[in-house]
């Protein structure tokens, strides 16, 4: 659905996006993650033909961008940073106006499509109040409705749950999953890891303009081959497991073992009182922090050359839990 090849954007001396080769497939719920200032928005704007690439190529729905924007964009619903609307007009009037402004917005079905989009985002009951009087969350929902009016096959959403309350975030997540089930590919950018974790099937991570990771979320979160054990008798557990314990923190142990059931049996047999036992998976936060450097909006993080220095690997950093990536040999 979206492919970019070595996409680079320079603003003066600043390289906002560097050699990014994005690959979003049909049916994906793709989450583009990255700290503030990592180039997410610039990348999204390039996909929509708003910002022109310095080098590299973009293809969306199989057509080159920006050359064929007039063909491609009618099939796309977009939310670009914050939503924007004419404040003196009502939400309905805004959606109708935007629909009338471009191609593929049939006048005959406009009223119905606008009402449906408003219903989808939970704004079915809005009256004729001007957008000026809307709350932040209502504006965000209206922005999403604007993206849905033409029933697009691809949604490109920059920070879609910005400004929404927890309930709003869940509503939108359910909506996007529902749309995805009916065949809409969803590409969204966010710096909210829990949101992406709950919604996306595939992630890309941008750091200082570079795409440092692009993978199915499920394969990133495969069991690490370690089991987390919590016990009232850690001494005996360590003695029983003999060298399999990688890390001990009070009553909590990290045990190298591909088979949690066998491990449990062995502990119980040795009379170790097991309080809890769980397969270790890396959280999205760990995955992202491991591949990214300091946040790009962090003052002083940028070296004179313009590059952001990398933090030491995750297990070296004191505040981060000692979790190395899954060793492939240990999967059963």
């Amino acid at each position: 659905m979206i492919t970019t090849q070595n996409l680079t954007k320079r603003f003066g001396h600043v390289e906002a996006v560097r050699e990014v080769s994005l690959d979003v497939r049909e049916g994906d719920r793709y989450g583009l993650l990255g700290p503030n200032g990592s180039g997410k928005t610039t990348l999204v704007r390039m996909l929509l033909g708003l910002v022109y690439a310095t080098s590299g190529s973009i293809s969306v729905l199989g057509e080159p961008i920006p050359r064929r924007v007039s063909r491609v964009l009618p099939e796309i619903g977009a939310l670009i940073e914050e939503p924007a609307a004419y404040p003196h007009l009502s939400g309905r009037a805004n959606l109708r106006l935007l629909d009338a402004a471009g191609p593929h917005g049939s006048r005959r079905t406009r009223r119905r499509r606008v009402d449906e989009a408003l219903e989808q985002v939970g704004l079915a009951g809005i009256d004729r109040r001007p957008v000026r009087a809307y709350s932040l969350g209502m504006r965000q929902r209206l922005g999403l409705a604007a993206a849905l009016v033409r029933r697009p096959q691809l949604l490109i959403l920059d920070e879609p749950t910005n400004g929404l309350d927890p309930r709003g975030i869940r509503d939108i997540r359910d909506l996007l999953i529902g749309l995805n089930d009916s065949g809409v590919t969803v590409f969204l950018s966010s710096h909210l890891l829990p949101e992406v974790s709950a919604l996306c099937t595939r992630i890309g991570v941008l750091d200082a303009g570079k795409l440092v990771l692009q993978e199915q979320l499920a394969s990133l979160q495969e069991p690490t081959g370690r089991v987390l054990v919590s016990t009232d008798d850690p001494e005996r557990a360590v003695a029983t497991l003999d060298g399999l314990v990688e890390h001990r923190d009070g009553a909590d142990l990290v045990v190298r073992s591909p088979d949690p059931a066998a491990l449990n049996a062995r502990l119980v047999e040795a009379g170790v009182p097991v309080r809890s036992l769980s397969v270790q998976r890396r959280s999205l936060e760990e995955i992202v922090l491991e591949v990214t450097g300091a946040g790009s909006d962090q003052f002083g993080a940028v070296t004179p050359g313009g590059a952001t220095p990398r933090n030491p690997p995750a297990h070296g950093g004191a505040p981060r839990p000692p979790i190395p990536p899954a060793p492939p040999a240990e999967t059963p």
Binding site: L50, Y52, L98, A101, G102
Partner: protein, 299 residues
């Protein structure tokens, strides 16, 4: 897209407030003149104003002369300066372009909306000032106020500077600036010609402001920039030392619409006025297009 821009134009309160203000100035002037019976003497003050006490039906011409130098260009510059920059700073520009609206199409639609605004303003001024003239100043009161009949305007030669005045023949018919009478039909025809010319005269400002509007995200900056260009032009027009560049200044032929009220119509400056505005529109629209079509939209 043009329909969308026109819808936005008419649904904006600002449109109607500025048109109201433009219409208010001639009304205020008319009230002062009607109350005091002190019109400027012929040859002084704003064009046609000396004659309106005698002939209320000439007030549209006087009103257009009042709003032309400042009010109308300010309003047009504000509209055109806001057209792209305003949408850029409010964020709606990126949604229009991602809709997608072609960038060239958007510029053309914006220009059409600004021209529509100028037409609306000129028509509104003409209509309200005609009503003002007839109701407040009264039609053909020449005999009543006892002005010396005729001849007061014949002294102005075509193309000469200064503020011309129109006079009255004894009787009723309105005279041209050349002293010969104009029929009502001719008067209507000439007022329409003057309205068209004044609207076209605003195109140069509109194109400059539209160009600046694509350069900056500040609507007020674009409007003030184009007004600065106009002020410079108006100063140079009166400066003898600048006579070499005067024929190319956007405001050089602004007053040529007065030539519609000569008998016969004196076409030379009118034609030049149309031509110079056409040049400004072509040059600045091309510049606006070249800049806008290649620009990164980062707001």
């Amino acid at each position: 897209m043009i329909a969308v821009e026109l819808f936005k134009l008419v649904r904006r309160l600002r449109t109607w407030v500025s048109i109201g203000l433009i219409c208010a100035l001639p009304l205020v002037v008319a009230i002062f003149i009607a109350v005091t019976h002190l019109a400027p003497p012929p040859g002084q003050g704003s064009a046609f104003l000396s004659a309106v006490l005698n002939e209320g039906q000439l007030y549209p011409a006087a009103a257009l002369a009042l709003v032309l130098p400042v009010f109308l260009p300010v309003a047009v510059a504000v509209m055109a300066g806001d057209s792209v920059a305003g949408e850029a700073s409010s964020g709606t520009l990126r949604y229009l372009l991602a809709r997608p609206v072609g960038r060239t199409k958007l510029l053309v639609a914006k220009l059409v909306a600004v021209i529509t605004f100028a037409v609306l303003a000129v028509v509104a001024v003409t209509v309200t000032s005609y009503a003002t003239g007839v109701l407040i100043l009264g039609p053909s009161r020449a005999a009543a106020v006892g002005t010396p009949p005729g001849g007061i305007s014949g002294s102005i030669a075509p193309g000469a500077g200064g503020a011309p005045t129109a006079g009255l023949q004894p009787g009723a018919a309105i005279t041209s600036l050349s002293g010969t009478p104009l029929t009502t039909f001719e008067l209507v025809e000439r007022v329409l010609g003057a309205m068209a010319f004044i609207t076209v005269s605003m195109l140069g400002v509109a194109a400059i402001a539209l160009f600046l509007s694509t350069l900056t995200n500040s609507a007020i900056g674009a409007a003030l920039g184009s007004l600065a260009a106009l002020v410079i032009s108006e100063i140079l027009v009166t400066l003898n030392a600048a006579s070499a560049v005067q024929p190319y200044l956007p405001t050089r032929y602004w007053l040529a619409w007065i030539d519609f009220f000569r008998q016969p119509i004196f076409w030379r400056d009118i034609q030049r006025g149309f031509a110079i505005q056409a040049v400004y529109v072509v040059v600045f629209l091309a510049a606006a297009w070249a800049n806008f079509a290649t620009r990164d939209i980062t707001t």
